[in-house]
C-alpha cells in the first residue's frame, strides 16, 4: 500500500505515505481551520526540542516559522518539514515485570493503560481522514484502563509521520476541538517551556524515524529521567512527568494505538 509501484494508485502517479496524508490534510483544510499556519507550530516546536537532543538528526539546525513557510512542497499541502525523516538506526525498550523492574538500576516506566482502534478503511473510501480516526476510542480505552483522565497527562509523545498527524491525534484525543489547533499550538504549548510538551526528542520530524519506537522510547526515557538537557522538569521549565500519553498510528490514519506510561 505505501511502497507499491505497480498498484492501481501508481497509475495516477500516487505513491507513498506523503501523498495519502496530503489527501487527508487537504480535506481537513476544507472542513475546518487548519493548514500551514497550524502545522508550522508543530514543526518548529519539535525542532526546538531536537536542538536539546545531541542524538537528533536535526540537532544544530534551528528552524523559524519563516524557514518552515518558505520550504519546498513535497506533495502539497505538505512541505518537506511536514514530513518525517528517513534514517537507519535502532531502538529498543525492555519490558519486564514490575517486580523485577523494582530491583533494576533505573527507575522504571510503568505501562498503565493500552488502547487500540483500527477503522482500516482504504483512503479513497474513508470517511475519517479528518477525524475522528481510531485515536479517539484508543485513547478513551487507554486512559480508562490507567484510571486517569486527560487532565492528568503531563506530556505527549505522538506518532508524527507528518505534522498533520500530530494535530489530528491531539484533536481526537480531545485536547482541542476541530479547527482550534492553530490557537492551541500558538502559545508555545508543545515546545520547551510549554504547558503540554509534545515529542520532546524532536520526534520523527526532527530526531529520527523509528516507527512507533520514537515516541515510545522517548516517553519511557522521560519517565525514567534519562533525557539530560531535554528532560521534562526544571531543566526545561516544564512539569515533571508522572503521566505521559503515547500514540502509534498505521497506514493512512487506518490504525491507532495509545499507551499511558507512568512512574511508580
Amino acid at each position: 500500500m505505501l511502497m507499491d509501484f505497480a498498484g492501481d494508485d501508481a497509475v495516477f502517479g500516487h505513491f507513498g505515505a506523503t501523498g495519502g496524508y496530503a489527501l487527508a490534510a487537504r480535506r481537513a483544510m476544507h472542513e475546518f481551520n487548519t493548514g500551514p499556519q497550524t502545522w508550522k507550530h508543530i514543526a518548529v516546536a519539535q525542532r526546538a526540542w531536537a536542538n536539546l537532543n545531541p542524538h537528533a538528526m536535526m540537532h544544530g539546525k534551528p528552524m523559524s516559522f519563516g524557514d518552515y513557510l518558505s520550504s519546498k512542497y513535497v506533495v502539497e499541502p505538505l512541505r518537506l518539514p511536514d514530513n518525517c525523516l528517513v534514517n537507519d538506526g535502532g531502538r529498543a525498550v525492555i519490558i519486564t515485570t514490575l517486580e523485577r523492574a523494582r530491583d533494576l538500576r533505573h527507575r522504571p516506566a510503568v505501562i498503565l493503560g493500552l488502547g487500540q482502534h483500527n477503522p482500516s478503511v482504504q483512503v479513497t473510501q474513508s470517511g475519517t481522514l479528518t477525524g475522528s480516526t481510531g485515536a479517539r476510542k484508543a485513547c478513551e480505552t487507554a486512559l480508562s484502563m490507567a484510571g486517569v483522565t486527560r487532565d492528568d497527562v503531563d506530556a505527549c509523545q505522538i506518532y508524527d509521520c507528518f505534522t498533520y498527524t500530530v494535530e489530528l491525534t491531539l484533536q481526537d484525543y480531545g485536547f482541542f476541538g476541530p479547527g482550534e489547533g492553530e490557537s492551541w499550538f500558538s502559545e508555545g504549548t508543545i515546545g520547551p517551556g510549554g504547558r503540554m510538551p509534545v515529542n520532546t526528542s524532536g520526534g520523527q520530524l526532527s530526531e529520527a524515524y523509528y516507527m512507533g519506537l520514537t515516541p515510545l522510547s522517548e516517553a519511557t526515557m522521560q519517565i525514567m529521567g534519562r533525557c539530560k538537557d531535554r528532560q521534562l522538569g526544571p531543566a526545561t521549565q516544564t512539569k515533571e512527568p508522572s503521566i505521559i500519553l503515547v500514540s502509534d498510528n498505521g497506514g493512512i490514519l487506518q490504525a491507532h494505538s495509545c499507551c499511558v506510561l507512568g512512574r511508580i
Binding site: 492501481d8 501508481a10 497509475v11 502517479g13 476544507h30 506533495v75 502539497e76
Partner: protein, 135 residues
Amino acid sequence: MAYNKPLPRVNGDNQEFWEGCRNHELKFQQCASCGHIRFPASLVCPKCLCSDFQSIVSTGTGKVYTYAVYHVAFHQGFLEDLPYVVAVVELQEGPRLLTNIVGCSPEEVSCEMPVTVAWENVTPDISLPMFKPLI
C-alpha cells in the same frame, strides 16, 4: 514513444472495471438487495453482505472530495507532469475514485469542485478515467 508510466494490474476482481474503461464506461457493481453501489469490486456487498449484484454505468460526473499536488516525481514517468494533481473524486452515484484532475492548473482545483470524466487512452487496451472541471 512507449508509454512509460505504471499500468493497472488487471485481475479477476477489477477486470470488468478496466474493460468498461476501454469502452469509456465507468462500470460499478450495484447490490441487488440493498442497492448500494460499491467500489472497488467485491464478492459481497460491504453494507448488507448480499452476493447478488448488477452492473451499472456511471454518468461520469461528480465532485472533488480531496486532492494533492505532487511537486516531486516518485517515478520517472511523471517528471514532465510536475506539478500534477492526484484527487479523490466522489461520483454522483456514490463511489469514490483515485484519479488525476486535468484540463486546469493545480491552483484552480478545490474540494467540492464539480468534475466530469476525461478519458486518457494510454494503450490499445487501457484507458484511464481522469477528471476535468465541469463547465
